[in-house]
């Protein structure tokens, strides 16, 4: 199994995630696309950890999952606080710094 396959797969997932972040107006879908990008990075890390036979890549991927959990917690907290005040979750309507 040449490692190129894994690189192409993670590239494809990364691009789909990037498209999701750019085109979607709904902030929760944007957050989900960021999770997808983090997943693409994890695939690369584990593929190279298998290629070099060193488990460091998997440890790094584990830390990325822990970080994705922290990021999702705070990100969704911000969305809920924003939704409570402005009744909207669309990125276009988040145009005021202080209301």
């Amino acid at each position: 199994m040449p490692i190129g396959h894994y690189l192409f797969l993670s590239l494809a997932l990364f691009l789909i995630g990037a498209i999701g972040v750019i085109t979607r107006r709904n902030v929760i879908i944007v957050l989900m696309s960021i999770e997808l990008i983090l997943n693409a990075v994890n695939i690369n890390l584990v593929a190279f950890s298998r290629y070099f036979g060193d488990v460091a890549g998997q440890v790094f991927a584990l830390f990325i999952i822990a970080d994705a959990a922290a990021e999702a917690a705070v990100g969704l907290g911000i969305i809920i606080a924003f939704f409570r005040n402005r009744e909207t979750v669309l990125a276009d309507e988040m145009d005021l710094l202080k209301w």
């Binding site: 584990l62 999952i65 822990a66 959990a69 922290a70 999702a72 917690a73 907290g77 809920i80 409570r84």
Partner: protein, 124 residues
């Protein structure tokens, strides 16, 4: 793919097939359905459904799910430690075995106590 997982993969496909095939097969074996539109109204003890009240449950369920996620990450970090613990004890490294985990749990216990005091855990 470590060889031991291949039967597990086949098993999970077989398990997915069990409910799906039964649902589809018995959809056609069943006698026809009768009864008017009233049957398809959502069950409301007879009262017609009005708007759905979702605002009230706002922060409560979010805090539970978020805390669950943070504690789940903590559990995942505990598993590797638990697996190596007896090995360290055998090598007489008791201090090294206990210390890192107590620091890890202590930091998160600080957060837990803060939540307890702040009432965020009052999830009724």
């Amino acid at each position: 793919m470590p060889p031991a997982y291949i039967p597990l993969l086949l098993f999970s496909l077989l398990v997915l097939a069990f409910p799906v095939v039964t649902l589809i097969v018995f959809k056609y074996l069943r006698p026809g359905s009768r009864g008017g539109p009233a049957k398809f109204q959502p069950y409301e003890c007879g009262i017609l459904p009005e708007t759905s009240t979702r605002g009230r449950y706002f922060a409560r369920f979010y805090i539970i799910a978020m805390l669950f996620m943070i504690l789940n990450v903590e559990t995942i970090f505990l598993f590797p430690w638990a697996v190596l613990f007896r090995g360290w004890l055998a090598a007489h490294l008791a201090a090294f075995a206990l210390l890192p985990m107590f620091v890890f749990l202590g930091v998160l216990l600080v957060g837990y106590v803060w939540l307890y005091k702040k009432g965020a855990l009052d999830l009724a």
